[in-house]
């Protein structure tokens, strides 16, 4: 409203530049919208294609609307098996890396031990090194250990826990380092034993960091292709399945999985936001 009246007033003495001025006023908004479109178009395509009724496997084109893909997601051969493997590995890797990474983060922040500073540095390395290097060295390790024939679910899980740990440590450590020491001292001063202090004060305050680390771990694990592919043996995860079928024409059910994954992430983000807003609204 304000912009409109301002523009109208100025038109009187400087005609013709109204459009230009409107663009100048809204440039940031326009750019922002363009970036959003750029980000969301691929996702929109995935959502759209999940309702596609293709006439040919070889042409990736929207031919007609159907709910068939949604009603028969496991029709695509091997997809549900791969998906189930990915989810299982994702959950186990999340559990393993979150527990180990949280313990490492506590050790790094709370305890002084020989090698702490080098540990602080080394924990970054897995994040910084190329996946292909980590994947191939892990493969070399498994083969050298005589497990070359047993590549599969467990070797993938070991690999995923390994590369997720760094991210967990970094996330939890940041949260923990920002925690005021006085809070734990205050809890102890108020008759809380060390165990009670941990569960009543430290853990609830660090928990958002741990939760964030767990979500990150799951998505890293679910996502991973390079390291997984090198250490998978005959096991197929969802990304490997997609890669495999991409050469023969992607079944539309892959888009269903993609859409569901996207909706789940949206739900988590929106749910978290709503929850925190409701909590602060209730307090005021």
């Amino acid at each position: 409203m304000t912009t409109a009246t301002t523009t109208n007033r100025k038109v009187n003495y400087k005609q013709g530049s109204a459009a230009g001025r409107w663009i100048r006023h809204h440039l940031v908004l326009i750019l922002g919208l363009l970036v959003l479109v750029y980000t969301f178009v691929p996702i929109f395509v995935v959502v759209l294609m999940s309702f596609n009724d293709p006439t040919s496997r070889l042409i990736y084109r929207f031919d007609g609307f159907t709910l068939h893909n949604w009603l028969n997601p496991c029709e695509a051969e091997g997809m549900c098996g791969a998906l189930s493997t990915s989810v299982q590995i994702g959950l186990l890797a999340t559990l393993g890396s979150t527990i180990l990474g949280t313990l490492i983060a506590f050790a790094l922040v709370r305890h002084d031990f020989v090698g702490r500073s080098s540990m602080n540095l080394l924990i970054f390395l897995p994040m910084a090194s190329p996946e292909i290097v980590m994947g191939s060295s892990l493969l070399a390790l498994f083969v050298a250990a005589g497990r070359g024939g047993q590549l599969g679910f467990w070797t993938i899980l070991i690999a995923h826990i390994m590369f997720c740990i760094s991210f967990v440590v970094v996330t939890v450590r940041a949260r923990l380092a920002g925690l005021d020491d006085n809070l734990e001292q205050a809890a102890m001063d108020l008759y809380a034993t060390p165990q009670q202090t941990f569960w009543r004060v430290t853990f609830p305050l660090v928990f958002p960091g741990i939760l964030g680390a767990a979500l990150l771990s799951f998505s890293l694990s679910f996502d991973d292709f390079i390291i997984t592919n090198l250490n998978a043996g005959n096991t197929t995860t969802f990304p490997m399945f997609v890669w495999g079928v991409a050469q023969r024409g992607v079944p539309m059910q892959v888009n269903v999985v993609g859409t569901v994954m996207f909706l789940v992430s949206v739900l988590i983000v929106v749910g978290g936001e709503v929850n925190s807003r409701r909590r602060s609204a209730k307090l005021v």
Partner: protein
């Protein structure tokens, strides 16, 4: 240095003493000794302030009483029980932290209830309500700490500690983060609550005004030891060391040679002027000393003017600086021996103002002077930390 140190307590003494008692407590961090062989008695129900500049060991002393630091040597007893090595959660002591340290994830009610819940009290709800009423925060019970103002958070911290009815409540510079006006009203508020609940309070501060306003006993600490301990007025009027004389208020310290020591007065030659100091205010053993006099005790007049003081008149002063601050006028007067003395004169309207360069005479009543040991540094404690 402290008076209590001179009485050697017996073991039986310690057991019958119902207050807080520190004996020979030392705390060293690597090469640095924060607290050095400290003795302190805090009678039950009293309000004591540990006053000193930052780094003097006052907070370390408090943390040792709370159990958050372990003494390197010495013992701490509370109501006859040795708590030197007891865990923080095992001692009947609670702390109000400088940063308040309220639990950000719990609301005000749960913050205050925290201690009672840990001890499985049956009357959590009634006690919390009473306590919130005492600190006037009943309406804020369901808010989170971050939604309260600094002064309200401070009161929550106080309530959270007080509700446990500790034997000793420790206050670690609890008003440092508040603005001046709020600080003044909280000082009176805390004093009121202490009188009301009758608990023992140990207050740590670097603000001398705060210490004197709130506490009935002030212990001035410096470099890990208690320099002097006593009622605020005693400390101010009769300091026993140059540190106390300078840290608590302001003092003029003038070099002097002791001429004679009588039963009631000590006569000192101060750059050719004979002055007397009451014997009980004489804390110098050698034949030299610092004659101390507070600026507001010094009278200033024109040469030959009759001053309301039966002591000797010290002639030959020249006014070098005048600051008019409303209620009083502050002069700096250069004496014949080169030293500049500070004088505060109340603006009662009976005196005329002197201008810089004017010749003046100074005088004071002998009973206000004190004599300090010459071996002490005359400027000790004068670099005090400003109260923000």
């Amino acid at each position: 240095m402290s008076q209590v140190a001179e009485q050697q307590p017996t073991a039986a003494d310690a057991e019958s003493y119902d207050g807080l008692r520190l004996r020979n407590v030392t705390k060293s961090f690597a090469a640095f000794t924060a607290v050095d062989d400290l003795d302190l008695d805090v009678p039950s129900g009293s309000f004591i302030a540990l006053l000193g500049p930052s780094g003097c060991g006052k907070t370390t002393t408090l943390r040792m009483v709370a159990g958050l630091e372990t003494p390197t040597a010495g013992s701490i007893t509370l109501a006859g029980q040795d708590i030197t090595y007891a865990k923080p959660y095992q001692r009947p002591v609670n702390t109000v932290f400088q940063s308040y340290a309220l639990f950000p994830h719990l609301d005000i009610y749960e913050n205050v209830a925290f201690g009672l819940r840990r001890r499985k009290s049956n009357e959590v709800d009634a006690s919390v309500r009473d306590m919130l009423e005492l600190v006037e925060l009943t309406s804020q019970a369901r808010k989170k700490p971050a939604q309260l103002s600094g002064g309200q958070q401070q009161r929550v911290a106080l309530a959270r500690a007080l509700i446990n009815k500790p034997e000793v409540l420790l206050l670690d510079e609890p008003l440092g983060a508040l603005d001046l006006k709020l600080r003044r009203s909280m000082q009176l508020e805390i004093k009121r609550i202490q009188t009301e609940v009758g608990l023992t309070f140990v207050h740590v501060t670097h603000d001398q005004e705060e210490a004197m306003t709130m506490a009935d006993t002030v212990a001035v600490m410096n470099a890990g030891v208690i320099e002097q301990m006593g009622a605020p007025a005693d400390l101010y009027e009769n300091p026993q060391s140059t540190f106390v004389a300078n840290f608590l208020g302001q003092s003029n310290l003038i070099e002097g040679t002791i001429r004679s020591r009588a039963a009631d007065v000590v006569t000192v030659d101060m750059h050719g002027v004979q002055v007397s100091v009451p014997t009980e205010r004489c804390h110098a053993d050698s034949d030299k000393g610092w004659v101390g006099i507070r600026p507001e005790k010094v009278l200033i007049g024109a040469p030959g003017e009759e001053l309301d003081a039966p002591g000797n008149t010290i002639p030959g002063g020249v006014v070098t600086d005048v600051s008019f601050v409303g209620v009083s006028t502050q002069y700096l007067v250069r004496m014949p021996w080169g030293q500049e003395l500070a004088i505060f004169q109340q603006n009662t309207g009976r005196h005329r103002l002197f201008a810089p360069g004017e010749e003046v005479e100074l005088s004071w009543r002998p009973e206000y002077a004190f004599l300090l040991d010459f071996s002490q540094d005359a400027s000790a404690g004068s670099q005090k930390v400003d109260a923000e």
